[in-house]
C-alpha cells in the first residue's frame, strides 16, 4: 500500500492536470485550479523545508568540524542574518537595502564573469586546434561585432551576416534541441503516468 498509494495519487493528479490542459470542462477546470493552488502552497512549504535542511546540514558540519566548516559558518550567518533582516525590517526598508547593496552587487559581479568565462573557453578550444573551437570563435566574434559595433561603412556587412547566422544555422540547431527536449519531456511524462518511473518513491 505504501508503494501503491503515492503512485495512485501521482497518476490521478497528473491525469487531471493533463486533461484540464486539453479539455474545456468546468469540473476539470475547478479541480485543476485547486491542484495548482495546492502545488503553489506545497512549493512554499518546500522552500521552508529546504531552508530548515540547509541550516541543519551546515550546523552539523560546524559541530563536527567537517571539511569546509568555516564556509558553513558564513552560510549560517548570512542565512540567519538575511532572515532576521527580512522579518524585522519588512516595513523599514532594511530588506530592500540588503537586496540593493549586498545581494545585487555580489551577484552582478559574479554574473559579469560570464563573458570572460565564455571568451576564455572559446580561446582554449581554439588553441587546441579543434575545428569546432575555431568555428565557435569566429562565429562568436561575428555575432558580437554585428551586435555591438556601430554599423557604418565596411562594418555594414556584419549585421546581415549576424542575422543570417542567427536565423539559419543557429535556428536549425535550436529547433533540433527544442524538438529533442520536447520529446524527452513527453517520454518522461508518459513514463511517470504509466507507472514506469516513480521519482516520488
Amino acid at each position: 500500500m505504501r508503494r501503491i498509494l503515492p503512485a495512485l495519487v501521482a497518476l490521478l493528479v497528473g491525469l487531471v492536470v493533463l486533461l484540464d490542459y486539453f479539455l474545456e470542462n468546468p469540473v476539470l477546470d475547478a479541480l485543476g485550479s485547486f491542484l495548482l493552488e495546492g502545488a503553489i502552497i506545497l512549493a512554499a512549504f518546500a522552500l521552508l523545508l529546504g531552508l530548515w535542511n540547509l541550516l541543519l546540514v551546515h550546523e552539523r558540519k560546524v559541530r563536527r568540524r567537517e571539511r569546509g566548516w568555516p564556509a558553513s559558518i558564513v552560510i549560517l550567518l548570512s542565512t540567519l542574518g538575511g532572515l532576521a533582516v527580512g522579518l524585522a525590517g519588512w516595513r523599514s526598508g532594511a530588506l530592500d537595502w540588503f537586496y540593493r547593496y549586498v545581494l545585487f552587487p555580489l551577484e552582478a559581479s559574479t554574473g559579469a564573469l560570464l563573458a570572460f568565462v565564455v571568451v576564455s573557453a572559446a580561446v582554449r578550444l581554439w588553441r587546441l586546434g579543434s575545428l569546432e573551437g575555431t568555428v565557435m570563435l569566429v562565429v562568436g566574434a561575428i555575432v558580437l561585432a554585428g551586435t555591438l559595433l556601430p554599423q557604418g561603412g565596411a562594418l555594414g556587412v556584419l549585421t546581415p551576416l549576424r542575422e543570417w547566422i542567427v536565423s539559419v544555422p543557429a535556428l536549425a540547431a535550436v529547433r533540433g534541441i527544442l524538438l529533442g527536449v520536447a520529446l524527452g519531456i513527453m517520454a518522461t511524462g508518459l513514463r511517470v503516468l504509466l507507472w514506469i518511473d516513480r521519482p516520488y518513491e
Partner: protein, 474 residues
C-alpha cells in the same frame, strides 16, 4: 585517480603503491561503494547498484576508510548479500514529528559519532543503517549534503561504456579544462617566454590596463557620441514595439521578472524601456516573479522609471505582485485567475479595491504579457503555461546570448517580439523616441568592445613582429 582499498586515499593515475599507507594499488580492482558496498570500477562515476555519486568520493568528500569488498572469482558462486543491520548498541532514533530522518539527523546518537570518529562507519553510514532498519525511508536520500534523491531508473541501469563520440567530447573537454590560456604570460613557462625574460608580461599588463581605462573614459567623455550611432532596428525588436502599440490605452498588462541580479545589467534596461513605454501609453502594469529576487528587481525598475518621469500619479497604475512560489504551476494558476492566487501586493497591501486589478480574471485574458527571462527555460515556461493554452500575446526580453534560442518561437507565432539585451533595449528606446539607460549602456559596451578588439589586434601584430625580428636576427 585510484582509490586505495586499504585506507581510502586517492592516488594519481598510474600509481602502483598508495601514497598514504604504501599498500599495492591495482587499477583494475573493483572499489567498494561507500553506501551499499557494491563493487565498482575505479573510474565509475556512479555506483552500479545504488547510484551513489562516486566521483564525489574521488574528490575526497568521503572521509574515512572505504570498506574492503571481497570480489568473488569468476565461476564461484556469490555469497548471499547480508542485510545491513543497525550497529549494536546504537539506539533507534525516534521521530515524534513524523519527519524524515534527514531532518532530525543533527541529533546523532553519541555511539554513532564515536564509531564514526573511530573509522568504523563512514559519514552518514550510521544514519543510513538506522533509516533502513526503521523502514520508513528508502535510504535514497543521502544525509550528507545536500539531500539528493537517486533517480529511480539509475539504480537498475548497468554502467554503459561511452560511445566514441562521447569519449571524444569528454577528451576535448578535459583538454580544454587543462589548457592554460595565460601560459604565455607566465615568465619562463616555455622556452619562448624565457627568451623574453618577463618583458612581455609588463607591457602586456600595461596595455590591458590602458585599454580598460580607455573603455571606461571614452563613453563618459563622449556622452555617447559616435558610439551611440543609430543602427538598424532588429526585426524582433520592431515586432515587440508593434505588439505593445496594439494594446488599447487603459488596459492592464503583466510584466514577469524572471531573472536575478546576475543578469540585471543586461535586463534592467529592457525592463525600464518597456515599463516606460507602458506608462506613456496610460496602461496599468502588474509585475510578478517566480524568482525570489525578481520582485525586488521589479521594484527597482519601477522606481527608476517613475523617478525619471517625475509623475507621482503614475504609481497608482502600477502594482508589484511580488514573488510567487510554485514555478510553472504558479504561472498556470496565475493564467487562470490572478485574484485567487495573489491577494496582496509586494508590500502586503490587499489587492481588493486597487484600480489596476479591478475586474481582472486570469493573466491569460490580458492583452499582453512581457516576460523578462534569464534563459530559454524561463520564457518557455510562460509560453507553455500561458501563451499557448490561452492564446495570450507574449513579448520576451532576454539577454543577448539567449536571443537566438527564441527565434523558433517567434517564427511559430508564439512570441510577438523579442528584445535582446542591451542592443535590443537601445533599439527599443530609439523606436519609442526616449533614449535612456539602454542607449547609454550600449555606448559603454561598444567602447569596451572596440578597446578589446584593438587590444587583440595590437597584441597580435606586436607578437608577430617580435617573432619575425627574432628569426631575422643573428
Amino acid at each position: 585517480m585510484i582509490f586505495c582499498q586499504a585506507c581510502g586515499t586517492t592516488n594519481r593515475e598510474g600509481s602502483r603503491f598508495c601514497n598514504q599507507c604504501g599498500a599495492r594499488l591495482s587499477e583494475t580492482a573493483d572499489i567498494a561503494c561507500p553506501r551499499c558496498g557494491a563493487p565498482n570500477a575505479p573510474d565509475a562515476p556512479h555506483c552500479q547498484k545504488c547510484g551513489l555519486d562516486l566521483a564525489r568520493g574521488r574528490n575526497d568528500v568521503w572521509e574515512g576508510p572505504l570498506p574492503r569488498v571481497e570480489v568473488p572469482e569468476e565461476g564461484t558462486p556469490e555469497a548471499p548479500e547480508q542485510p545491513r543491520r543497525r550497529p549494536e548498541g546504537v539506539p533507534l532514533r525516534r521521530r515524534p514529528h513524523g519527519l524524515p530522518p534527514w531532518l532530525d539527523s543533527a541529533e546523532q546518537p553519541e555511539e554513532a559519532s564515536s564509531e564514526l570518529e573511530a573509522g568504523a562507519l563512514l559519514p552518514g553510514e550510521g544514519e543510513l543503517a538506522l533509516e533502513r532498519d526503521e523502514g520508513e525511508w528508502s535510504g535514497e536520500a543521502i544525509p550528507i549534503e545536500p539531500v539528493v534523491g537517486v533517480p529511480y531508473r539509475a539504480r537498475e541501469r548497468p554502467e554503459q561504456p561511452p560511445t566514441p563520440e562521447e569519449q571524444k567530447a569528454a577528451d576535448l573537454f578535459a583538454a580544454v579544462s587543462a589548457e592554460d590560456v595565460f601560459a604565455s604570460l607566465q615568465p619562463g613557462a616555455e622556452e619562448e617566454q624565457s627568451e623574453r625574460a618577463g618583458r612581455p608580461e609588463t607591457w602586456l599588463r600595461v596595455l590591458v590596463a590602458l585599454t580598460l581605462l580607455v573603455a571606461v573614459i571614452v563613453p563618459v567623455l563622449l556622452r555617447g557620441g559616435p558610439l551611440s550611432a543609430e543602427g538598424s532596428v532588429p526585426a524582433p525588436v520592431a515586432a515587440a514595439a508593434r505588439a505593445i502599440q496594439q494594446v488599447p490605452p487603459g488596459a492592464t498588462v503583466l510584466v514577469a521578472f524572471e531573472y536575478d541580479a546576475g543578469l540585471a545589467g543586461d535586463l534592467q534596461p529592457v525592463a525600464e524601456a518597456v515599463i516606460g513605454e507602458f506608462l506613456s501609453r496610460d496602461l496599468h502594469i502588474l509585475t510578478v516573479s517566480t524568482q525570489p529576487e525578481g520582485a525586488a528587481l521589479a521594484e527597482m525598475a519601477l522606481e527608476r522609471v517613475l523617478r525619471a518621469r517625475g509623475d507621482a500619479g503614475a504609481r497608482s497604475r502600477v502594482v508589484n505582485l511580488g514573488y510567487l512560489t510554485g514555478g510553472q504551476a504558479a504561472i498556470r494558476a496565475l493564467a487562470v485567475s490572478i485574484p485567487s492566487v495573489i491577494r496582496s501586493d509586494w508590500e502586503g497591501r490587499p489587492l481588493a479595491g486597487n484600480p489596476a486589478v479591478a475586474g481582472l480574471g486570469g493573466a491569460g485574458t490580458l492583452p499582453l504579457v512581457v516576460v523578462l527571462g534569464r534563459d530559454l527555460l524561463a520564457v518557455q515556461a510562460w509560453i507553455e503555461q500561458l501563451g499557448a493554452p490561452f492564446n495570450t500575446p507574449l513579448v520576451a526580453g532576454v539577454p543577448a546570448l539567449v536571443e537566438p534560442a527564441l527565434v523558433p518561437y517567434q517564427t511559430a507565432g508564439r512570441l510577438q517580439g523579442v528584445v535582446g539585451g542591451l542592443a535590443g533595449a537601445a533599439a527599443f528606446e530609439r523606436l519609442a523616441g526616449r533614449p535612456g539607460v539602454g542607449v547609454r549602456s550600449l555606448a559603454a559596451v561598444r567602447a569596451g568592445a572596440w578597446a578589446a578588439g584593438l587590444l587583440a589586434i595590437t597584441a597580435n601584430i606586436g607578437f608577430a613582429l617580435g617573432r619575425l625580428l627574432r628569426r631575422r636576427g643573428p
